[in-house]
Amino acid sequence: MKRYSAFAIAREAARYHTGWERAWASPKPKKKYDVIIVGAGGHGLATAYYLGKNFGITNVAVLEKGWLGGGNTGRNTTIIRSNYLQDASAAIYEKARSLYETMSQDLNYNVMFSPRGVIMLAQTEHEVRGYQRTAHANALQGVKTEFIGPERVKELVPIINIDGPRYPVLGGLWQERGGTARHDAVAWGYARACSQMGMDIIQKCEVTGVRSEGGKVVGVDTTQGAIDCDKLGMVVAGHSGVLAEMAGFRLPIESLSLQALVSEPIKPCMDVVVMANTVHGYMSQSDKGEMVIGGGTDGYNNYTQRGSYHHIEETVRALVETFPMISRLKMLRQWGGIVDMTGDRSPILSKAPVDGIFVNCGWGTGGFKAIPGSGWAMAELMAKGHSPLTEEFGLNRFSEGRFIDESVAAGVAH
C-alpha cells in the first residue's frame, strides 16, 4: 500500500486523484483465523494492530456488524487525558496517551493528536483537595499534571468566567500533554494499518453465536457464515452483555445512553479542553471551530443512541454559566452513544470464564482516550495470557471487593 505524504498528494493531484487505493480491503471471511476480534471500533482495531505489530500475529479477522468505527469511537467528544487517581487507571490511560503522541507517524495516518492541554476545574473546596490529591498521585505514577490557581486557569482559558457567584473557579488540575484527536481517523488509521498487515476487516458481519468445545472457544457463527478461531476477543462496548450471553457467561455491565452536542463553528477561542465536574459539563473546540460539549448519561438502560433532553439542558446551562459567551452560540447537533458501565465504572480487560475468550469492555464514558493503551494491553493479554496493564482490571475484582474507583468525590463534606 502506498504511503501517505504531501508528495503523494501532489502526485495524485496531477491525475485528479484517480490513483488512490482503498484504505482497507473488504474481503470475504476465511474459514479460520488464529484470532478473531469482534468489534471494529477503536479498541478492537487497536487490539488487532498491536497483535500484529508487537507479537507478529497477523492471521486475524476483525468482525463488525455495522461499519467500522461506527460505535462510540465516532460519537465521543475526543478528549485524551491520563490524570487518573488510581494506579491501574493512570497506567493504562498514560500508556494510551503516550501512544497517541506518535500515532500519526506509527500509522502513517494523521489522527491529528493535539496535545493542547486539559484542565479539570475545581469549584468547591472538596474538589480542590481532590485534585491536589490526584496531582500528588500522578507525580508518583509518572503522569505529568499540576494543580493550578484560578488566575492561571483564566490565562489558559480567557473565555472562562472564574468568579461566578455560585461556583467560582478555585483552581484546576492541569495536564499539559492531554488534548484531543480526530476520532474517526483513529479507527480509520488502525483499520488501514491492520489491512496492510494482511488482517481481514469484515464489515456488515454480525456475530450470531459463539461456539465452544470442552470449555474452549472454537469459533463464531456470523451473518456471513461460521468462522473458526483459536482465540476470540470481545470488544463490543455496549453490546458486550449480549455477546457474553452467547458464549454462556455474564458480565457486570449495563448499557446507558451518553449524550453530546456541538455548536456551530466559530473562529478559534479556546485552546484547551475544560472539564467542570461540579456543574457537570465539559467543552473543547474542534479544529473545525465547533464547541464540542459532553453531556450526561441517562440513569436507565437504553440502547436507542438517543437520550433524554434534560441532560442536554443541564449541561448547556452549566456551560453558559462557566463560559458566558457561548450563550450567543447555537447548538448545531446533539446525539447519543451507548456506553457500557461496570459496577465500579472502570473497564474490564480480562480472560473470560470460557478458555480462549478475552473480554475488553466497560469503558463507560472514558473509552476514546484509552484506545491505543487498551489495544496494546489487550493484545499482550491475548498473546501472552497476562499483561501488567490489565492485571487489576480482571473480572474477579467484583467478587473480591477490589474495586478501581475513580469517583473520589463520592464522599460528601460536612
Partner: protein, 1004 residues
C-alpha cells in the same frame, strides 16, 4: 445585477424604509424584508466565503436551508455569529458583517486555498502534516483552525434574557403552510387541543408564491380564512416565528420561539424554548429544493429556482436581469413564468429530461419560451458573479454546444420532503423512485410510550406536491392524529378541493452532464458551505469509505451549519452511483435535533448567575451575609467558611475563631446537618440494618454516634442518633448526606423490607440547629435559662427537650470539637431568634461564630473522621479504626457481607493514623507516601496517603490524618512525604487524637 423591482413584494411595507449596515456599508430595505432579500435588493450577491477554499459565496436559497448567507449580526453584548440572512427579518439599525475572510470579503487571502483546491481533496489532511511530529500542534493545526471556523467569537456576556415554557396538547402541528393549516383545522374542529407553529413570520408557506386555487378561490384567500378560523377557536394556540426544533421520546417536542430577534430593542426575553408534550405530532414541514450538480454551481448568482421566485413574489427583488433556468422537473417552469411576468429575461430553459414535461412545460412552450430538452449546463462562467453558462447535452460528457450570457442561473434538482422531525426519534424513510426522494414510511413511525406511532406527516413533507392532494393528506393527518390521541372526533372535516397544474415526474439527475469528467466534477459542488464536491464523494468511495457515515465524515458532507439540507440527497445519490448500488441501499445518515441551530441561551433559559441553581438558606443565612462571611458551596447550601474581619486573612480568621472557641465560646450554624425521623414499632430493627452499630438497644434520652455503610461495604455517612422514645429515633446525617440518606432509607424500606412498620421523615429544614461550643457553653445557656444543662442534669451523649430564653428547644449534649458542647435544635422559624439571644448573652464571653474550616480543624485536632475527607467511597470503617462502632452481635447490617470479601478483610489495607511533621510545617493536601521501588507498570510504589491536613492553632503546628500501610503498628516511625513542588516533608506517625486524648474538656 440583483435589484429591487417595481412590482412584486407581497410581504413588504414599501411605505416604511429600514436602514441597515453590511460590512460597514449603509443600505436600505423595507419593512417585511429579510436580510437576504434586502442584500439582494442592494446588489449584494456576494455574502460570504466558504469554509475550506474560501470561495465566494452568494445567496442560494430563501429559507432555513441556506448554506451560504451567514453573517455576524449585532454588536457587543448582542453580537451573534453565523446568523442566517434568509431567516433574519430586517429591522431598523441592523448591523451585520460577512464571515470567514481576511482582509475583506472582496479580497480574501484565504482564497489561495481555492487555487490549490486540487491539492486539498476530501481527507487530504489525513494523509499529510505528519512530519515533523511537533509540527501538527505548533504549525499545521493553528493554520487549519484559523482558516476553518466560521463566525467571529462573541466577546461579551450575553445582554439578552431567555425563558422556558411548558405546554401540553393533544395535537401539535409543525409548519404553517397550507398542509399545516388544514391539518390543524381538521384536528381542532374534531375537538382536539391543538398547537400550530410556523417558523417564519407568515402563514401559508410556499403556496402564495406557487399559486393554485382552493374551492375556486385564490389559495391566498384560503390561507387568510383558515388562519381566521383557527384564531377564533379556543382550543387552538397559534405561533409564528416558532420552529419545531426536536422530537424526542414519548412525545416530547421542543419549540424554538424567536420573540425579539426582529425587534431587538424591545423588552423581554429574546427566545423562548417551549417544552411540549403532545399526544400526537403532525409534521407539515414542507419540502426543500435540491441544487443540481454541475460545474460552477456555487458561483454567486446560481440560485435555487424556487428561491428566485420567492424573492420576486415576496420581496420584489430580482436576482438577475437575464436568467438561465435549468431543471429536471416541472416546478422550475414556475420560476420562468414569474421572471417573465416581472419583466425579466429568460434566454433558455434547460430541461435535463430528454422529452416532455407536464402542463407547465407545455405552457412554457406555448408562451414562447425557448425550452431545450435533454440539455444541461456544462459549466457556469464567472468568478464572484455569474457571467454566462456553457450548454451541453445531459447525456454527454460536457462538450459545449453553445454559450449563453446571463447574470443568474435558476436551478432545480427536484424537491426533498423535510423529514427531519419524523426521523429524530426513529421514524424510518422510504425511497420514492418516481419522485426521486425519501419520504416518511407510514408503516415505520417513531414509537411512543405505548409502542404506538406518535408522528403523522402532512403535505409536501409527506411527498405530496399537488395542492388538492396536499389538502386531502393534511385533513387525513389532522383527523387521524385526533383519533390516535385517544379522542373521539366531534366532527369530521372534508378536505376542500384544491387545484394546481399537474406536474410530470422529475428525472433523477445527480450529475450534470451525466458523463462529466474529473475536471468538471471537481467544480460541481454538493455542500456549498463545507466545499464538498462530487469528486470528493467519489474519492471517498474509491478509497473504501463506503458506508454513508464514512463518506459523510471523510468528506464533511452535510456537517456544516445547514446540516446538509441541500446536499445530503445529492451526496448520497453520488455515493450510490459510485458504488454502483441503488440509493436506498446506501441509506441516509441519522437526522439529529435540532432542525436548525438553536441558541444555547434558549436552552439554558433563565438559569444565570445567582439563579443558576436553587440556593438553600438556613434561618441564620442573612446574619452570615451581614457579617460578610466568606461562603463555600456545600450542595445547594452556602455555608460560612469563616468570618474574616477587616484586614484579616482567611487563615487568621479561622485561627481566631478556633482559639476563642477553645478558650471561651464559639457558635456554629449547624442547621444544614441532616435530620431524619425514623418512627414505628420496627424502627430499632430497621436502624440496626442501616447502621453498623446496634441502635435498637439505645435508651430513650440517649445519643449514639453511628456509621452507615452501603451494601458494597463502604462507609457512606456518619452522625449522632438520638432515641426520642420507644418508637422514635432522630438520625443526624452529614450536610451533603441528608437527602441521599433519606432516599437510601426509603429505598430499603419500600423495596426490601416493605412489611416492616417504619416511617421516615426528612425534617432537615424544619429545624435550625446551633452548636454552642466552649468552656463557657454551659454558662451562656444557663444565662438564657429555662432548662437543666448541668454536668449531671444533661450528661454527655444525652438529649433533653426544654426551653431556653423562652424558646422551645431540644438540646443534644454532643461534641464534634472536643469542647463542652451543646447542639440546640429549634423550629426553623425561631432559629434566628435563638441565634441572636446567644450572641447577646455570649457577648460577655466574647462569643465567636465560627465557620466550616474551624469546624474541620477542631475535629481533626480531636482525631474525628470526616466523611469525604477520611472517606472517599473506597474506605471501610475498619480502615479508620472504627471497629468499636461495628456491632459483632448483629447477624446482618448493610455492608456486613461485603466486608467479608477477601480484599476487604485483607490485613494489609491502609489504616488511619495521625501524622505530625518534625518541623511543624503543614503537610500538603492529598499527599501520598511513597514506598521503595516501582510496580510492574513503572509507577512508584506507595504506602499511604494524607487524608486531612491543617495548621492547628491550638497546638501551634501542622497536624494531619493519614491512611498508612500497617500504620497503627508503626507509631513513631518517620515517613518521607514529597510535595508536588519538590519539597520533602518528614512526618512522624502518631495517634490521630492530637488534643485532649482523655476527653476531659468535653466531659465537664
Amino acid at each position: 445585477m440583483s435589484t429591487r423591482l417595481s412590482t412584486g413584494g407581497r410581504l413588504l411595507n414599501k411605505d416604511k424604509q429600514v436602514r441597515f449596515a453590511f460590512n460597514g456599508k449603509q443600505f436600505h430595505g423595507f419593512e417585511g424584508d429579510t436580510l437576504a432579500s434586502a442584500l439582494l435588493a442592494n446588489d449584494q450577491m456576494l455574502v460570504g466565503r466558504s469554509f475550506k477554499y474560501h470561495r465566494p459565496r452568494g445567496i442560494v436559497a430563501s429559507g432555513a436551508e441556506e448554506p451560504n448567507a451567514l453573517v455576524g449580526l449585532g454588536l457587543g453584548a448582542k453580537f451573534e455569529p453565523n446568523q442566517r440572512a434568509t431567516t433574519t427579518e430586517l429591522f431598523d439599525g441592523l448591523n451585520c458583517s460577512s464571515q470567514n475572510h481576511w482582509p475583506s470579503l472582496e479580497f480574501d487571502i484565504g482564497a489561495v486555498n481555492n487555487k490549490l483546491a486540487r491539492f486539498f481533496p476530501a481527507g487530504f489532511y489525513y494523509k499529510t502534516f505528519m512530519a515533523p511530529r511537533a509540527a501538527w500542534k505548533h504549525v499545521f493545526e493553528p493554520i487549519v483552525r484559523q482558516s476553518a471556523g466560521l463566525g467571529r467569537v462573541p466577546k461579551d456576556r450575553d445582554a439578552d434574557r431567555y425563558e422556558h415554557f411548558y405546554a401540553f396538547f393533544d395535537v401539535a402541528v409543525i409548519g404553517g403552510g397550507v398542509a399545516g393549516l388544514q391539518a390543524a383545522l381538521a384536528a381542532a374542529e374534531a375537538g382536539a387541543k391543538v398547537l400550530l407553529m410556523e417558523q417564519t413570520a407568515h402563514w401559508g408557506g410556499r403556496a402564495p408564491v406557487d399559486g393554485g386555487t382552493v374551492e375556486g378561490e385564490k389559495v391566498d384567500d384560503f390561507i387568510d380564512a383558515t388562519v381566521a378560523k383557527l384564531q377564533a377557536m379556543e382550543n387552538v394556540t397559534l405561533r409564528t416565528r416558532m420552529m419545531g426544533a426536536g422530537v424526542y421520546d414519548h412525545g416530547y417536542l421542543t419549540g424554538y420561539e424567536r420573540l425579539t430577534d426582529h425587534t431587538p430593542d424591545q423588552d423581554g426575553p429574546r427566545h423562548r424554548l417551549w417544552r411540549i408534550r403532545a399526544s400526537q405530532i403532525v409534521t407539515a414541514t414542507g419540502a426543500i429544493e435540491r441544487p443540481l450538480s454541475f460545474a460552477g454551481n456555487d458561483i454567486p448568482g446560481v440560485m435555487l429556482a424556487g428561491a428566485m421566485r420567492d424573492y420576486i413574489v415576496n420581496y420584489g427583488v430580482s436576482s438577475g436581469d437575464r436568467v438561465v433556468v435549468v431543471t429536471n422537473n416541472d416546478d422550475a417552469y414556475r420560476t420562468a413564468f414569474t421572471l417573465k411576468r416581472h419583466g425579466l429575461e429568460v434566454p433558455v430553459i434547460l430541461d435535463a429530461r430528454p422529452e416532455g414535461g407536464g402542463k407547465l412545460a407545455e405552457l412554457a412552450r406555448e408562451q414562447g419560451f425557448r425550452v431545450e430538452n435533454g440539455k444541461a449546463i456544462s459549466k457556469v462562467k464567472g468568478g464572484k458573479r455569474v457571467t454566462g453558462v456553457a450548454i451541453c447535452t445531459q447525456a454527454g460528457e460536457g462538450a459545449v454546444l453553445e454559450e449563453i450570457t446571463c447574470d443568474a442561473v435558476a436551478m432545480s434538482g427536484g424537491w426533498s420532503p423535510v423529514v427531519h422531525l419524523w426521523s429524530h426519534c426513529g421514524g424510518k424513510l422510504t425511497w420514492d423512485e418516481a419522485q426521486a426522494h425519501f419520504r416518511p414510511d407510514p408503516n415505520r413511525p417513531p414509537l411512543g410510550a405505548e409502542g404506538q406511532g406518535f408522528v403523522k406527516v402532512a403535505g409536501a413533507a409527506n411527498g405530496e406536491f399537488d395542492l388538492g392532494a396536499i389538502l386531502k393528506d393534511a385533513t387525513e393527518a389532522g383527523l387521524s392524529a385526533v383519533t390516535a390521541a385517544g379522542l373521539k372526533p366531534k366532527s369530521k372535516a372534508e378536505a376542500p378541493a384544491g387545484e394546481t397544474l399537474a406536474e410530470a415526474n422529475p428525472a433523477a439527475v445527480w450529475l450534470m452532464p451525466q458523463g462529466a469528467g474529473p475536471a468538471l466534477r471537481m467544480k460541481a459542488f454538493l455542500d456549498y458551505q463545507n466545499d464538498v464536491k462530487v469528486s470528493d464523494v467519489m474519492l471517498a468511495a474509491q478509497e473504501g469509505y463506503e458506508s454513508v457515515e464514512h463518506t459523510k465524515r471523510y468528506t464533511t458532507l452535510g456537517m456544516a451549519t445547514d446540516q446538509g439540507k441541500l446536499s445530503n440527497i445529492n451526496g448520497l445519490a453520488t455515493l450510490a452511483h459510485s458504488l454502483n448500488v441503488d440509493i436506498p441501499q446506501v441509506g441516509t445518515t441519522t437526522f439529529r435535533p435540532p432542525y436548525t441551530p438553536i441558541s444555547m441561551g434558549a436552552i439554558a433559559g433563565e438559569a444565570r448567575a445567582e439563579t443558576f441553581q436553587p440556593l438553600r438558606r438556613t434561618p441564620m443565612h442573612d446574619w452570615h451575609e451581614e457579617q460578610n462571611a466568606f461562603f463555600e458551596p456545600v450542595g445547594h447550601w452556602r455555608r460560612p467558611y469563616c468570618y474574616p474581619r477587616q484586614g484579616e486573612s482567611h487563615a487568621e480568621a479561622v485561627s481566631r475563631e478556633i482559639n476563642q472557641t477553645r478558650a471561651a465560646l464559639g457558635l456554629l450554624d449547624a442547621s444544614t446537618l441532616g435530620k431524619i425521623i425514623v418512627k414505628g414499632p420496627d424502627a430499632g430493627r430497621f436502624l440496626d440494618m442501616m447502621y453498623t452499630n446496634m441502635m435498637s438497644t439505645l435508651k430513650p434520652g440517649k445519643c449514639r454516634y453511628g456509621l452507615m455503610c452501603n451494601e458494597n461495604g463502604f462507609l457512606i455517612d456518619d452522625g449522632v442518633v438520638a432515641r426520642i422514645d420507644e418508637d422514635t429515633f432522630l438520625c443526624h446525617t452529614t450536610t451533603g448526606g441528608a437527602d441521599r440518606i433519606h432516599g437510601h432509607m426509603e429505598e430499603w424500606l419500600q423495596t426490601e423490607w416493605w412489611d416492616w412498620k417504619v416511617y421516615t421523615a426528612n425534617v432537615t429544614e424544619q429545624y435550625a440547629q446551633i452548636a454552642v461550643v466552649g468552656p463557657k457553653a454551659r454558662e451562656v445557656l444557663e444565662k438564657l435559662g429555662g432548662m437543666e444543662v448541668s454536668k449531671d442534669g444533661l450528661k454527655f451523649m444525652e438529649w433533653a427537650d426544654g426551653e431556653l430564653a423562652g424558646i422551645p428547644v431540644r438540646a443534644y449534649r454532643i461534641s464534634f470539637s472536643g469542647e463542652l458542647s451543646y447542639e440546640i435544635a429549634v423550629p426553623a422559624s425561631l432559629g434566628r431568634a435563638l441565634w441572636d439571644k446567644l450572641l447577646e448573652a455570649g457577648a460577655e464571653f466574647n462569643v465567636m461564630p465560627y465557620g466550616t474550616e474551624a469546624l474541620h480543624v477542631m475535629r481533626a485536632e480531636k482525631g474525628f473522621i470526616m466523611i469525604g475527607d477520611e472517606t472517599d467511597g473506597t474506605v471501610i470503617p475498619q480502615d479508620l479504626g472504627l471497629n468499636w462502632a461495628i456491632s459483632k452481635k448483629k447477624e446482618d447490617f448493610l455492608g456486613k457481607r461485603a466486608q467479608l470479601r477477601s480484599h476487604m478483610a485483607d490485613p494489609n489495607r491502609w489504616k488511619l493514623v495521625g501524622l505530625e511533621t518534625l518541623d511543624g510545617a503543614v503537610l500538603p493536601d492529598g499527599a501520598y507516601v511513597p514506598a521503595s521501588g516501582n510496580n510492574a507498570n513503572g509507577q512508584r510504589n506507595t504506602q499511604g496517603r494524607v487524608t486531612s491536613t491543617y495548621h492547628s492553632p491550638t497546638l501551634g503546628k501542622g497536624i494531619a490524618m493519614a491512611l498508612v500501610h500497617n500504620g497503627p503498628d508503626r507509631m513513631g516511625e518517620v515517613l518521607e512525604i514529597p510535595g508536588t513542588d519538590g519539597t520533602i516533608y518528614k512526618a512522624r506517625i502518631c495517634d490521630p487524637v492530637f488534643y485532649d486524648k482523655d476527653g476531659e474538656k468535653q466531659n465537664v
